[in-house]
Amino acid sequence: MKDEVTREERIDNLKGMGCSRKRVEDARFTQGKGNYVDDIKLDGMLFGDFVRSPYAHARIKSIDTAAALKVPGVLAVLTAADLEPLGLHWMPTLAGDKQMVLADGKVLFQGQEVAYVVAEDRYAAADGIEAVEVDYEELTVLVNPFESLQSDIILREDLVAEDGSIPAGAHGPRKHHNHIFTWDAGDKLPTEEVIANAEVVAEESMYYHRTHPCPLETCGCVASMDKVNGKLTLWGTFQAPHAIRTVVSLISGIEEHNIRVVSPDIGGGFGNKVGAYPGYVCSVVASIVTGKPVKWIEDRMDNLMTTAFARDYHMTGKISATKDGKITGLKCHVTADHGGFDACADPTKFPAGFMNICTGSYDIPTAYLEVDGVYTNKAPGGVSYRCSFRVTEAVYFIERMIEVLAIELNMDSAELRRINFIKKEQFPYTAALGWEYDSGDYHTAWDKALKTVDYDGLRAEQTKRVEDFKAGKTRTLMGIGLSFFTEIVGAGPVKNCDILGLGMFDSCEIRIHPTGSAIARLGTISQGQGHATTFAQILASEIGLPADSITVEEGDTDTAPYGLGTYGSRSTPVAGAATAMAGRKIRAKAQMIAAYLLEVHDNDVEFDVDRFIVKGAPEKFKTMKEIAFAAYNQAIPGIEPGLEAVSYYDPPNMTYPFGAYVCVMDIDVDTGVTEIRRFYALDDCGTRINPMIIEGQVHGGLTEALAVALGQEIAYDDMGNCKTGTLMDFFLPTAWEVPNYETDFTVTPSPHHPIGAKGVGESPHVGGVPCFSNAVQDAFRPFGNRHTNMPHDHWRIWKMANELGLHD
């Protein structure tokens, strides 16, 4: 048979790895044909919604539901008293704490769930909520974690023994009734010694403010208990559907095979949809009680004020160096404000996530990190907002400490970074705080970045600008923001990563159809990352069938293999690896079939793009399509019919993507208005599966970084009232506020990942926040700024200028 297409064309036809294949999801999303939780409509479906506390700290003296039950359309009102007999008035959190499902005698944050009104529609539910009468006795509010640690006021009476002693928590001994845990890493005494004897030490305290992932689609679910077959179906905005199934089974007692959890299309997650929320539990209970499906959907204020926040880290650091800038030691202490319950979503052994990546991209011989978690009267959460567990905090910390050290040394911070980078030949590199970095080539990336932006030219321009400013010729300063980050993603090796005891492997199951198309099912769930596009590309390259002939399905626990879901940039490192490995199993079987069909020995055929060829005789081949057909329809001695494979992948290590970012900003000293003139982002995420999707992820992550650095926050007043509960005050940038981004890359594959890919969805956020912040701070460096906390919104920048005496 004469082959008319060239090998190049055959490669192109697959649309495999490395090609900017258009997103297959977009046809439905751009035509309003997505299927989100709130699109689910079932016969007889009811709506549930919460009575929420107006107070941040109060005792509940009574709840009167009589008037609410009289509101037309209201069917039931659940309170903690109703859930208690089922043992469901409290639920376990992902961090080993427990959280009230409905207020059990008191409330600990504004917006806390107090009662759950079930009604025929959401309008009746809203009216029912108005009619529930709750008698509160206000208590003293603690919004500051440092005050909380000193206060006599006990926030969590449930965590204090009757004799007044304080039992240990999930992460060891607690120092005070409002203290949650102390967690540390590294060597304390040696680090202190190095710092005490150092030639130069820079010290700084910084507050990484509380913010929120704010996905466009809020959290919600539909619970449907079929009383005839005893099966519970739960549709929801879950970033980890299998984990939710297991948790629901554990707390409800319903056997796991009788629970089906489905994550339909999800409109963004960014960490907000990892945890378990009272809305899920109440909806399940309401469905069991009423025998009807029950829907719960947050509105924007519910989402911003009550479901998982991010950050809220008070960090103090010391960094030491030699006179010529070689870093010798790093010490970091964090006071972590976790709100009323510890509901952080972190692997069990890491109550502060991977904050111990805070030595960053630098060869720092000695380091010590200590984190204290504290209860306050704020909403619970502490999730990884577009980052791997607490990595944004870690990278912000080190990238600010580098700048502060550069000031102390009177040195250029680009150069300070360069002389301290871990060198290419040092990989795999074991950092002082324990992690083993898989691969990197930081110097090449840094040099490329600085050269592309003409760093020296920018500095010269900035010097000129400062002169002009001092001469009264301009009121605009120029800031050059630098950041170099190393992420730690792909949680993770089961030996050190689990959530609630569930190992953090992931999975892929592939079924090849007789005509040569396929379906792949994974344990992850896309929330906009484009898995249906990229995972098909991995498979196309591995098994030689066109990506367009491969369906990728996720999110239904009845059909998908068990996996831990999508967050922390783990999908490509873990499920992507499982996909490649499952593909290789398919290929191994295909090789035997091909050899049989070609009448040669197994070892005499080799894989070539979309076929197996006889070694040395490429005109003799069987395409994967032909092989698939034969697998089902031809009796092959010694080989089972069918062509399927499943792989559960437990990664040997994390992956460590990195990048070099530069931001050039102009700042109006009088109004605090910033203008981003240029943003350059070089990302190294290892092997690149789909450059277009990478670019999209980088744009999205940078935009969320801009938001956090320049204004996005969850702020409270002294009474614990949330001041930023709507999108008027919570900054969500639009196309208008976003600059043009220049993207670039280097490729340093991960040595342990089957295809060398590292994950990219979160890198731009992790690297972006310090870059934007450093640009602001750099503009004021010539006038004496050392460190100023984010967010850098107009008035805070104005304040910075004002305090530096730049207004007359």
Partner: protein, 284 residues
């Protein structure tokens, strides 16, 4: 974010509006574009058991331009203002300001009348109307009257309009000279941190007249006569600009909120006014 139950009316003429207003008194309210009122109802900060939609009441959507003034119907939307080239030719500041209100989606619905009648100090049209010395036409069951924009605002959400009166139109005298509407906001779609409306005329190289109004810096828009007077007769050198800013700062009374503390707002108000004056002057 679900409003309390309400009755919805869509009368076809003014008589129908008055009949409902009379029957339900305080419990009834008119709605124009709904982009201030509906959010308040959803937050349950406004309770409107009887909601009267003005969309089908005719006669309030015209823009009439005559030699010395323009008359803009209350139901003309902010988007209409932006698109109306004839209007822009004679009152360019209207378009400059409308483009800085909210975002395109809101501007397609939000009306000039609603923006003016609302009484929210954050609205941009009131200060603009004060700067241009507009007159508001109010029609009630007992007839029609005109109120000067500069006399209309009493406190936040409290205006000279009686509950049973409808704002039907605004009349704006035509100005010669330069103009500017300068606004600082945190992001697209945001209300002003500070905004300034300036109309200015020049005669023989010096300032002949100046009208200045400020937005979102008090519980009402602030027409600062003194700030305008400070410019008249001068050539807008640094001294007169400073005097004008100082006079304006005397008239405003900002409060602290998420946009920033009082000292910041005052500082920005001064910067914004200065820029507005300079831009207006450059256009004379």
């Amino acid at each position: 974010m679900i409003p309390a139950a309400f009755e919805y009316y869509r009368p076809q003429d003014m008589a129908g509006v008055f009949a409902i207003l009379q029957e339900h008194g305080d419990d009834a309210r008119v709605m124009a574009g709904g982009h201030s009122l509906i959010p308040m109802m959803k937050l349950r900060m406004a309770d409107v058991p009887h909601l009267i939609d003005l969309q089908d009441v005719g006669g309030m959507s015209d823009v009439t331009i005559v030699s010395h003034e323009v008359r803009i119907g209350a139901m003309v939307t902010q988007a209409d203002i932006i698109d109306n080239t004839e209007l822009t030719a004679v009152v360019p500041i209207l378009r400059e300001a409308a483009l800085q209100i909210a975002d395109p989606q809101v501007r397609y619905m939000g009306t000039v009348g609603g923006n003016i009648a609302n009484g929210d100090p954050g609205n941009d049209m009131p200060g603009l109307m004060q700067c241009m010395d507009a007159t508001f036409t109010l029609v009630g069951p007992n007839g029609e009257r005109g109120v000067q924009a500069r006399d209309f605002y009493e406190a936040a959400y409290i205006t000279a309009r009686e509950d049973d009166e409808i704002l039907t139109a605004v009349t704006i005298p035509l100005h010669s000279g330069g103009y500017a509407y300068e606004k600082q906001k945190r992001k697209i779609g945001d209300y002003a941190t500070a905004a300034a409306a300036v109309q200015i005329t020049k005669d023989n190289g010096s300032c002949a007249s100046a009208a200045i109004a400020m937005t979102n810096l008090s519980d009402t828009p602030v027409y600062s006569e003194a700030a305008g007077v400070a410019l008249v007769g001068g050539t807008l050198d640094d001294t007169s600009l400073k005097a004008s800013v100082a006079a304006m700062l005397n008239d405003i009374d900002p409060t602290e909120d998420n946009r920033g503390p009082i000292a910041f707002k005052k500082h920005v108000a001064g910067v914004i006014l200065r820029r507005a004056i300079e831009r207006a002057w450059s256009r004379t």
